[in-house]
């Protein structure tokens, strides 16, 4: 397959360079078809170097690369020379060339713009960044997965330092290099971002930086503070309507890092010769034509939208052959997970149960404005002034593919930009913390909130969080108007008392044990977990989200009867809202054991759980009278 990649690259460069003028019109589509077919094969796809872990300067220009990314913004469509004619100055011979998949028209030749053979075509540009909040283990596994290939085991000691990168680029025999370097860099990368503590400490400074305008050389506009990785301008040639902002994609395309692209932006300030150039402000130039070394261009050949970014699962959930096998031992995995989380939650099994339900919840449908399936959990009773919430987040981060912990300190609330905002001077969407990919977990740490004054930004931020939780939407700020973007974010609120934010379900944590050293306690639990079991947990949590679910007529009837019965005894005991929650709990509970229909037992179990939970809250009310 090394040969395959080599060949692929060759073919690509062929395609990029010239389009034979005598070829049939569907030549291009045929080539694309062929590519897609080849890339479906997992093996082949894994040979394509990924922009996610290989730095741009190690990749050969005009070669085939892949990029797992998140669409942060969509720029205006651009018209380009689809077909143009060049004239050789010496021989005066004319050649038709294709402008597809590249940024700059052929050098060294005169371009004849007035020929009737010229065709203007349209393409769309997406600004893509790596998936926000992607857990370190996802990166690690994606990397080691491709490394497991025996053909690529090259001792890392043979790796030459970066200084020599030029020679590699010129090296004709490229195919093994990217992987070698990838290996090396991958490891350092993991250590770099694998330390959540550092990530947290980094957050406020870099964010305030971003808020005060781009004081840094170039703000790459990552939704989350402290993120790293390449941003990329992805040029889409067909069916761009199918993609939406906040989608996650795996893009296969041709890398374009032509240094000429960077020249423009530097030249701009000095020479304002062409009156047409004043259409773009300097800020806009910076954003839309950043230096290619920082933000490479990627001309999309083929992309598929990802349902999830869990590397342990096949990319498309529908191909669930392997998953059906897994479903057999779902129950045992669930038991293990419950035990693990119970330990983490200081022995509180009920909270652990609800945490599982929360982690597998997802918005599966919307009825007009009402999102169905969301299950925001408020874990109250978390000890104040301790690192417990942070520890808890680290445990969760280990289990799910992407997540973010937002410390709701007054400073953060008053200063962070949660909601993305359109910057009209630079003509781009300034990202905010709430611009997240579907199925990302947002861990709100309310224990960090102290008494104090919220300013108008703070109020807006709290409102935005409330909207996110209640309606699963974020209203992006377009200055003159707002635009609603539906989202699917699992929100977990850790708080001391009941959270000030709305939530679907409130569980009061009742620790059964009080270890003297929390940090040590949690890390002992984490260490004792075997990697294979951890992977099983990861598969479990991602897989169950994708299952379908239904309720039979018979059970519907039973549920109705039950509801009427409960209301008869005490109308105050259960409201429509409670029934809503109960139905969600029942659904998640069934799914958590791999059942795709609701059974009577599960319904009773859901009711039982809810009773336990509400009793606990009632109790708390009695103990602590002023808590609502």
């Amino acid at each position: 397959s090394t040969q395959f990649y080599k060949w692929l690259n060759h073919l690509m460069s062929l395609h990029v360079q010239t389009k034979p003028s005598n070829c049939s019109p569907d030549w291009e589509t045929k080539v694309l078809e062929y590519f897609k077919e080849k890339l479906k094969d997992n093996e082949a796809a894994s040979w394509v170097p990924s922009l996610n872990d290989v730095p741009v300067h190690y990749l050969k220009a005009n070669s085939l690369v892949k990029f797992r990314c998140f669409i942060q913004d969509m720029f205006d469509p651009e018209f380009y020379m689809g077909v143009y004619e060049t004239v050789d100055p010496s021989s005066k011979s004319k050649v038709l060339r294709s402008g597809k998949y590249k940024d700059v028209a052929e050098c060294g030749h005169q371009v004849d713009l007035n020929t009737k053979n010229a065709v203007t075509l349209e393409r769309q540009t997406f600004y893509c960044v790596p998936i926000p909040g992607e857990s370190p283990w996802v990166k690690e596994i994606s990397f080691s997965y491709s490394c497991s290939n025996p053909a690529r085991v090259v001792p890392s000691t043979s790796y030459a330092p970066c200084r020599h990168k030029r020679s590699y680029e010129e090296d004709e025999d490229m195919e093994t290099q990217p992987h070698k370097q990838k290996e090396q860099l991958g490891t350092t990368d993991i250590h770099g971002s694998g330390d959540p503590k550092r990530l947290e400490t980094e957050a406020p400074s870099s964010l305030s930086n971003a808020a005060s305008g781009c004081s840094s050389p170039l703000d790459l506009n990552f939704p989350l503070p402290g993120e790293k990785g390449p941003a990329c301008l992805v040029k889409v040639y067909e069916e761009w309507e199918l993609f939406k902002v906040n989608d996650i994609l795996e893009v296969y395309g041709i890398l374009s890092v032509d240094p000429v692209l960077s020249v423009i932006s530097e030249d701009k300030d000095s020479s304002l010769v062409d009156p047409m150039d004043c259409t773009e402000s300097v800020e806009e130039q910076r954003v839309h034509c950043p230096p290619a070394s920082l933000v490479p261009r990627l001309h999309m050949l083929y992309a598929h939208r990802l349902q999830h970014n869990n590397p342990l699962l096949p990319p498309a959930a529908s191909e669930g052959q392997s998953s059906s096998g897994f479903l057999n031992d779902v129950v045992s995995v669930r038991g293990e997970l419950l035990g693990y989380l119970t330990h983490v939650l200081l022995g509180d099994a009920l909270a652990a149960e609800y945490l599982i339900l929360h982690l597998i919840s997802t918005v599966y449908a919307r009825r007009d404005v009402l999102p169905l399936g969301k299950f925001t959990l408020n874990l109250s009773g978390c000890p104040h002034n301790s690192t417990y919430t942070e520890q808890l987040y680290r445990v969760i981060q280990q289990l799910i593919p992407s997540s973010f912990r937002l410390g709701m300190s007054l400073h953060n609330m008053n200063n962070l930009r949660l909601v993305p905002r359109k910057d009209y001077t630079a003509n781009r969407l300034l990202s905010g913390v709430l611009q997240l990919a579907p199925n990302t977990s947002l861990f709100l740490d309310e224990t960090q909130l102290e008494q104090g004054q919220l300013d108008s930004t703070g109020v807006r931020n709290i409102t935005a969080l409330g909207n996110l939780i209640s309606w699963q939407k974020v209203d992006y700020d377009f200055n003159y108007h707002q635009m609603e973007f539906p989202c699917n974010i699992n929100v977990l609120i850790a708080s001391e008392g009941k959270s000030l934010l709305p939530c679907d379900c409130h569980v009061r944590l009742q620790p059964q044990l009080a270890p003297p050293n929390l940090e040590q306690y949690i890390s002992t639990i984490q260490v004792s977990l075997s990697p294979s079991l951890l992977n099983k947990f990861r598969i479990y949590l991602s897989l169950l989200r994708t299952l379908d679910y239904s309720i039979s007529e018979e059970v519907t009837k039973a549920v109705e009867d039950d509801f009427v019965e409960m209301r008869k005894d005490d109308p105050q005991s259960i409201s429509a809202e409670d029934l809503h929650r109960l139905l969600v709990v029942a659904r998640l509970l069934s799914l958590s054991v791999g059942h795709t229909t609701l059974s009577r037992d599960r319904w009773m179990r859901a009711k039982h759980l809810e009773t336990l939970r509400t009793n606990r809250t009632e109790q708390q009310k009695c103990v602590n009278g002023n808590e609502p």
Binding site: M74, D76, P77, E78, F79, Y80, M81, K102, D103, V104, C107, V111, D112, L113, N114, K116, A118, T120, E122, E241, K244, V245, V260, I264, D267, S271, V273, D274, P275, M276, C278, T279, A365, R367, D368, V369, L372, Y424, L429, T463, S470, W471, F478, Y480, H481, E484, P486, I551, T556, V559, E560, F563, V564, R567, K568, P571, S575, A576, L579, V584
Partner: protein, 799 residues
């Protein structure tokens, strides 16, 4: 600026260069190349530089220097204003169609005072015949706006040409119009020659649909202005003077480039020509950024932007934030990577040269521009809507399509449906009453957790100009408007709040009861007068806020107390409550059959697939279109029977209470009834309000009253609960108590002062009903008002 090696600067369509390349799909026969200047025909000259130099000072004669007399003199004397919006205009080619009578019998060429049958692609003459359609009004602006829709209905072919070749066709329009004008009004003095500005090119697209095929065509797109640049002086004509012999020449800018003369024609020195800036001619230009309007956007995508150039008097016509329809020519220009290299970036820059602006949303400050408000519906869509309207149960259908996820509450949904449609707007300003509210206001109150917020969210998402605020989070300025200092320009800017923003829409206010009093007081004006007066930081103005208010309030005691009146439950001032047409209670009915249906509804909500539900209900888009169509096209008037029915209904309402000495209806209730009846007629797409509409209005009004204005003590519906904040029985009882207290005091004989507590105890002992301290104080207050006694501290003193 002058790189001769890099002359090609055009898109794929080449046009206007010599010799013309027939890239157009049009089979045009070029018999003779003619150059037209000022309406006069000169013989064709090969090089463009040899044209008659019409921009020399001679042509720019002042009006007084005009040669009077001949009908053409007006035309000749009026300066031509260049049209940078069209590119290089003066090189319009003309074709003599002697041999090719393409325009056939339709060309009464003789009308043209120019003897020859000269037409440009058969256009010029047609414009001549168009003249009846367009009135030239000498109102100052020498601009003729031409609605392309009219043009199309007049001559489809001409329209097609205008769309496809605007750069050539519009100048010929200009010519024709000017000839016509000065023929009619030879003596009129106008600033410059009339310019034709076509608008509403039917090819109206949203920005998203623009594609390479539209390059160099006339397009109309709508959008919102997000940024405007400073004024840019753009050189139209460069003035060069030879530094050796002082010979001067002028060079016209051709598509943004100036061909600098390399050799002086007089003394043949090379590179001696220098540009003299202050003798060159400049025109105004402004860059405008236009963004797609949010309504046109597919969900989940970010809006596109386009660059628009405005020229001359169109500069500064629009401000950021304006919603506009722009008609102009779409252009694409290649980007040069480096002026010194011949390398070209394979991308074009696109922009629109604006010819015509039309603001679509300026009525917020001025009158209502109905035409702009009209949403375009395809004929097919209209047919479907009409079919739906013809169904007898359309009212029920629509109301059940409203927020299907919310269970039952049929009447509330019906009320909200009528609110969506609204009444007919009437204007009584001539009789002094001013506008008459057409908007219906609704208040929902009830227990928490009865999906009030959800209903509000739904409505907010349904209507095009809805606003959603929460009483808790909004201040008076957030609702109305506030003055802000722009940090960059130090200019004061009026920022409008939710109520103004939802003009002609619905303002949804959640947690109405949590709103502060000062905020609520703002609503008084809005809810009846539909305007908002602002006097802040030197800005005094009255903004229109023709908003329907849909508010939701929770009871004060968190649970609705059925033993109390609405006012007591929600603690809102009755002055505000009486401004709501309908007040509904959303309570938990607590009845078994209801519970069962509710449970069924919820369970099915959770497992039915998307498609299944869609079949059952009309989709949201349909409902949206239906409402939009009815709002813009249907204006029902009261029929004779309907007015009789309304009168009868009102009289009946008055009668109900009169038996018990209560007033049960006020004119406000009559107005509500009329509005509701009109809205119901709109639902049926009927131009007349008929008896059935009145019946439904009455029923709904009664239902709402029954819920909100029932006196819990007597069980009667009592409108005064809402209008005066107190039920008639309560008031009566208050009076009785005051009288009893008076009698008690009188019975005590001549004592000037009494102990407060003593009096209270006495009254309680005497009365057979329980008397609270509040009631006692109220009675004392009533007597104080009568000047019978005063209360000072713990003593009561008789006067």
């Amino acid at each position: 600026m002058s790189s001769p090696s890099a002359t090609p600067t055009k898109g794929k369509r080449t046009r206007g260069s010599n010799p013309p390349t027939p890239t157009q799909s049009e089979p045009v026969v070029f018999m003779k190349l003619m150059v037209v200047i000022n309406g006069e025909i000169c013989c064709s000259l090969p090089a463009p530089l040899n044209e008659i130099d019409m921009s020399s000072p001679l042509t720019y004669g002042t009006p007084s220097s005009r040669v009077e007399g001949t009908p053409r003199s007006g035309l000749r004397g009026t300066p031509v204003r260049q049209r940078p919006d069209l590119g290089s205009v003066r090189k319009a080619r003309q074709v003599d169609l002697h041999s090719d009578h393409a325009n056939g019998p339709e060309a009464p060429a003789s009308e043209h005072s120019v003897g020859q049958k000269l037409v440009i692609w058969g256009t010029d003459v047609n414009v001549g015949t168009c003249k009846e359609k367009f009135q030239i009004n000498v109102v100052g602006d020498p601009v003729l706006n031409v609605n392309c829709e009219h043009l199309q209905s007049f001559d489809a072919d001409l329209y097609r040409q205008l769309i496809a070749y605007p750069q050539e066709v519009i100048p010929t329009f200009d010519m024709a119009v000017n000839e016509l004008f000065f023929e009619r009004f030879p003596d009129s003095v106008i600033e410059h020659q009339i310019q034709v500005r076509p608008y509403n090119a039917l090819k109206t697209r949203n920005m998203r649909n623009l594609n390479p095929e539209d390059i160099d065509q006339l397009i109309t797109i709508s959008g919102m202005v997000i940024r405007t640049s400073q004024l840019i002086p753009e050189m139209q004509e460069a003035f060069f003077r030879c530094q050796v012999c002082a010979f001067s020449t002028r060079v016209e800018v051709d598509r943004g480039r100036i061909a600098e003369p390399a050799v002086c024609r007089n003394c043949n020195t090379t590179h001696s020509m220098a540009l003299i800036h202050n003798r060159s001619i400049f025109s105004d230009k402004q860059m405008i950024k236009l963004q797609e309007s949010p309504e046109d956007m597919p969900a989940g995508q970010t809006p596109h932007t386009t660059v628009v150039y405005a020229h001359n008097d169109l500069v500064d016509k629009v401000q950021p934030g304006d919603r506009v329809n722009i008609t102009g020519i779409y252009r694409a220009v290649p980007i040069r990577l480096n002026p010194r290299q011949s390398n070209v970036k394979s991308v074009y820059k696109t922009h629109i040269d604006a010819i015509h602006f039309r603001k679509t949303h300026e009525k917020r400050l001025h009158g209502l521009d109905e035409e702009a408000e009209e949403k375009l519906f395809t004929e097919e869509r209209v047919r479907t809507l009409r079919e739906l309207a013809a169904k007898p149960d359309v009212y029920e259908r629509l109301s059940s399509a409203l927020a299907p996820s919310i269970y039952e509450h049929e009447d509330i949904k019906k009320g909200i449906l009528l609110q969506l449609f609204g009444g007919t707007r009437k204007d009584f300003s001539q009789t002094g009453r001013g506008g008459f509210r057409a908007e219906i206001n609704i208040l929902l109150c009830g227990d928490p957790g009865t999906s009030k917020s959800q209903l509000l969210q739904y409505v907010y998402n349904l209507v095009p100009r809805g606003q959603y605020t929460s009483g808790k989070g909004s201040s008076a300025v957030g609702l109305t408007a506030y003055v802000m200092k722009d940090p960059e320009t130090r200019q004061l800017v009026l920022q409008t709040g939710a109520l103004v923003l939802s003009d002609n829409g619905i303002c949804c206010i959640d947690e109405f009861d949590k709103m502060s009093d000062s905020t609520r007081s703002v609503l008084h004006e809005v809810m009846e007068q539909q305007t908002l007066s602002i006097a802040k930081a030197g800005i005094i103005c009255q903004l229109n806020a023709r908003t329907s208010v849909l508010a939701a309030a929770n009871p004060v005691e968190s649970q609705w107390n059925p033993k109390k009146t609405t006012i007591e439950n929600i603690q809102l001032p009755h002055t505000l409550l009486s401004r709501f047409d309908l007040i509904f209670l959303m309570l938990d009915p607590q009845d078994e059959a209801y519970d069962r249906r509710l449970a069924h509804h919820l369970v099915s909500l959770y497992y039915q697939s998307e498609e299944q539900l869609e079949e059952e209900f009309l989709d949201m888009a349909m409902l949206k279109d239906y409402v939009a169509y009815a709002r813009s096209y249907i204006e029902p008037r009261l029929s004779e029977e309907a007015s009789q029915a309304l009168i009868k209904a009102y009289v009946d309402m008055r009668k109900i209470g009169s038996g018990r000495g209560m007033v049960s209806a006020y004119p406000r209730q009559l107005e509500s009834l009329i509005r509701l009846a009109e809205a119901h007629a709109k639902v049926r797409f009927s131009d007349k309000v008929e008896t059935i509409d009145v019946e439904e209005a009455k029923r709904l009004h009664r239902e709402a009253l029954k819920q909100s204005a029932t006196d819990p003590r007597t069980g009667f519906v009592d409108i005064s609960i809402l209008t005066t904040g107190m039920s008639a029985t309560a008031r009566k009882r208050k009076e009785e108590l005051a009288q009893a207290l008076k009698r008690l005091i009188q019975s005590k004989g001549k004592v000037p002062t009494m102990k407060y507590q003593q009096l209270f105890d006495d009254l309680r002992a005497q009365s057979d009903v329980a008397i609270t301290k509040d009631m006692f104080e109220e009675a004392l207050q009533a007597l104080t008002d009568e000047d019978y006694l005063t209360v000072t501290g713990k003593t009561v003193r008789l006067l």
